[in-house]
Amino acid sequence: MFGPGAGSERYERVNADLAPLLGTPGVDVEAPFAQAGRTGFFLLAEEPLREDPAAVSARFAGLPESGAVATVYGTRRTALRRTATGTHERFAQLVRGARVVGADVDLHEDDRGVYGVTGRPLGDLQARDPGARPALDPREVLRACAEHFDLTGLRATPPEPVVFPVGDGGAWAYEVRFRVPEDAADVRVHLRADDLSLLLATNLALAATGRARVYPVNPLQTPELVPVELVGLEEPGRLLRGPSLDVAPASGARIVRADRDFTADPADPEFDEPQVFHHATRALDYFRGLTEPPLLAAAPFTPMRIFVRDPGSPDNAYYSPDSGEVHFGLFGDRSSARCASVVTHELGHAVTDAICRLGRAFGRNSESRGLSEGFSDYFAASQLDDPRLGPYIADDPHGARNASDAGLRFPRGFQGEEHDTGAVWAAVLWGLHGRTGAAVADRLVIESLDFLGPTSTFEEARTALHTVDQRLFGSQHGDAIDAEFDARAPAA
């Protein structure tokens, strides 16, 4: 069940002729460039071409040099790297503003000009034009995508219209990216736009996968250990470290497993390391589904350093924005690293700090810090579909806090201990979640953060929700926002 890459083959499918993607049909090689190899496409120029790289990239499409054609076909720079061998620019070929799958032109430049061209450009770009762009409902595309792989709850990127080279022509397709953590899969899919059939699916996951046995939620609510894959480990996968997470004990040696089997006895302190790696991976997957890709590809998530069993954090778990570290301590003998809601709560602080520095208020118990706590409680509740925060660490099935508590109400002037006021804000958001569903509520909540900062107030956070609702949903949920907030407003 746990072999490296187990489950990954499920996401590899080819229902199209890939020859146009792997070759360079129609490309004419002109001076100063010449083929450098006996096969393939590797052009070099003895005398570099001193010309705008964007113009050079357009030359390989086989297009007449007319303005009207240029508005339909072209290239767009998608990457740039500077190394010891010069500057390397990648251009995607475009038809009607959409990327052509596989059709890239890579230009290599030194201070004299473009000296090399690689990639897989299409020299017959005009022939690949499938006509007017499709306009399918993205939800329909994602639904079809989920059905192809028999998945529920697909967390995917928005479908991107692309041109897929087919035979001598082209077809409109949708490109979708999604991850399936339990299968260690990072999947890129192309669906035909006209019938949503599957053209191509590729599992891009390269990271190593480990295994362990963990409590799915926490030892109180889900006391049976279950086997899981630990995805996203850096090769060779001996440590609980990857591009996004780096888990270690606060003191002592970290767990090392040459066979990637991190199974440990719950009575053994090292058990907490794979356990928190699992919870944190799931939390990051949740946040990836809500945020734009650059956010979690930058500090402090590159990787986020997590310390477990921190003796300097008794009865606590915390996030330090300056160091970007998360520390999990023991509550008596109960490790906070074993509690999924606590892990998501702390990673929630990292997310809100990365977006709007909400927790960097001036002084404790400010409204913005209450908001920071409330958002973290909400994210944990929404991810786990459970309003209870920390039932295991509090040794209370009801939870240390519970966003479904009917009696929660803001204190006068919104003044109070930040976790107490935060609990009320979480209840507002959880109430909204109940009225609109998780997808809409999560979208309203995450987008509202961009309107907030370290001096924000609860009223401003309400306005931020309204602003997002107006811009994304035509104010469909205004009454729900007000109803949930007003029900918990301070007594007059």
Binding site: D315, P321, G332, H349, E417
Partner: protein
Amino acid sequence: MRIEVHQRGGILGLDRHVVVADGTIEVIDKGRSRGARTLDPEEAERLDALAAGAADAGAGGADPGPVSDGMSAEIAIESHAGVHRLSVCTGDGSPAEVWALIGELGRASGA
């Protein structure tokens, strides 16, 4: 020896007094007593030793910077030598002995 610790904040938003005196431990959460219990002699001895170590070690005093879910603790340790007061918070560089005392009080109180 009498030990009194007032913990505030942390992920649970604590406002907790823990009082160890005359061989008993009492926890008061947000002004409400959760009751007192008699400590085992071994527990009492361990707490006395940790308290003495914490008093000797002192507090950190470094600027912790912003901390989400940071916790602070006011500690008073009363012995025949007088009352020793410490004020610590998450990330201030306080010695391990101080946090060990707070952790052990958490275990002993069942909190």
